[in-house]
Amino acid sequence: MPELQEVTVDDLKHLVSDRAIKGETMLLNMGPQHPSTHGVLRLLLELDGEIVLNCIPDVGYLHTGVEKNMEAKTYQKAEVMTDRLDYMNNMGNNLSYVMAVEKLVDLDVPPRAQALRVILTELQRIASHLVWLGTSALDLAAMSMFLYCFREREDILDIFELVSGQRMMTTYFRPGGVWRDVPVEFEAAVRNFIKIFPKRIDEYEALLTKNPLFMDRTLGIGKLSGEDALQYGATGPILRASGVNWDLRKNRPYTGYEQYDFEIPVRTEGDVYARYLVRVEEMRQALRIVEQALDKLPMGPVRSDNRKFVPPPRSEIGVSMEALIHHFKLWTEGFPAPKASIYSAVESPRGELGVYLEGDGGPKPYRVHWRTPSFDNMQVMPIMVKGLLVADLVAVIGSVDIVLGDIDR
């Protein structure tokens, strides 16, 4: 078990100002185990009293080597890894990987499966924003927000468990559609959630939006201009809070998003309060999408009948010989993908979640690269916190909404 390396100031010479080396300003580890870093993120802070002069993030404390591990598994088995990447957005990860595989092998998806994917991804977006709202309000000392938000999140997790049998690591979307059709109680559960949730959002807004304490802690803190955001590659609510209207669901619609009408909340102030407003508005819009998708939920098969890539239903196996052959071939060896590379991106609650997938003709992906939004959103954070107080740094970390599984992959 290796010993903890001794961190001397001189190997950081090129990063911190010379006042730190002389010992005038304080170098402090806001380290891997800290209540407000939302995971194992280490920030090396250069402090002059309470003012943050310089913030050097040090990531990698949750590096799980997912990209290397996915190269050793077949296309179907590799999907199990995707749930653990951004553990707040499991459905979204499944969706982006599954769409990449479908694009690579050119597989069609029946309309009912596409509508189910939209409903469950938007519910996952609401669940992810609820965790963000709960924990970042908790960081600003609003304890009750944490308990209210997790109460709603339990309803969504019950729906996921109803559908896929697992609360978080669902792996419900499969190449060519979804794993199996939704049970009968699914529509009633989602209808009930749609009925109660708008009142709950009004409860949150009543608690926080006009709250002078919350506004003092968030208005004008951590400002970010549109150009800087693009220059540092930030996407998602951070970019939209800085005035750039870029949302993949509108600009590059996928799995049928073009059929539903919803707005993209965009604000121009680009501070912590603007990001709060954008995300809360996004929760309302996501609920509208779920309602429209549920109303227009088409009947029909939930998985493509292209036997080359999709295992046949069990009923057919006892009857037809071809189905038995396809079943065994797919489950033992997996399906071969062409020797080419594609990039497919999805709008996750944190930004553009892209998958660069390269096949080599065999059943195993040759290279999988995950373009995760938190990796770039974390790069933007140091330029937002220069000159702020340490307490405001906590608010900015909350507003950036990073997930360490996303950053370290």
Partner: protein
């Protein structure tokens, strides 16, 4: 005359007893395994950089002084609140004068920007 103070004496004795027992039990029955790493300062899991005791900026001292000043002011309210009825109007005016004097100091500190951090 002394009788009325017995209640307070019992209260003080009891509270110190409970406090001491809690510490004593912890000290007696708690296992003690000292180690160099356990004695090192905790810096969220990493090796602390630079000396622990270093020169602190003067603003902390300023904030501490202001706090002590206004805290003592509040302490003087307590005895006044106990005999508030008996003193009547005279006590009220006396306390208002006391507060006004400190209010001047407060406004002065505020305008000089002692409460701002920068």
């Amino acid at each position: 005359m002394l009788l009325q103070y017995v209640a307070i004496a019992i209260l003080i004795a009891l509270t110190t007893a409970v406090a001491l027992i809690a510490i004593l039990l912890g000290e007696l029955f708690g296992p003690k395994r000292k180690s160099k790493i356990k004695a090192m300062p905790y810096e969220s899991g990493m090796n602390p950089i630079g000396p622990g005791t270093r020169r602190m900026p003067v603003r902390f001292y300023l904030v501490a002084m202001l706090f002590i000043l206004f805290d003592i002011e509040v302490v003087f309210f307590l005895p006044w609140a106990v005999v508030f009825r008996k003193l009547g109007l005279f006590g009220l005016i006396e306390m208002i004068v006391f507060i006004v004097i400190l209010l001047v100091g407060y406004v002065y500190a505020w305008k000089k920007g002692a409460l701002e951090w920068e």
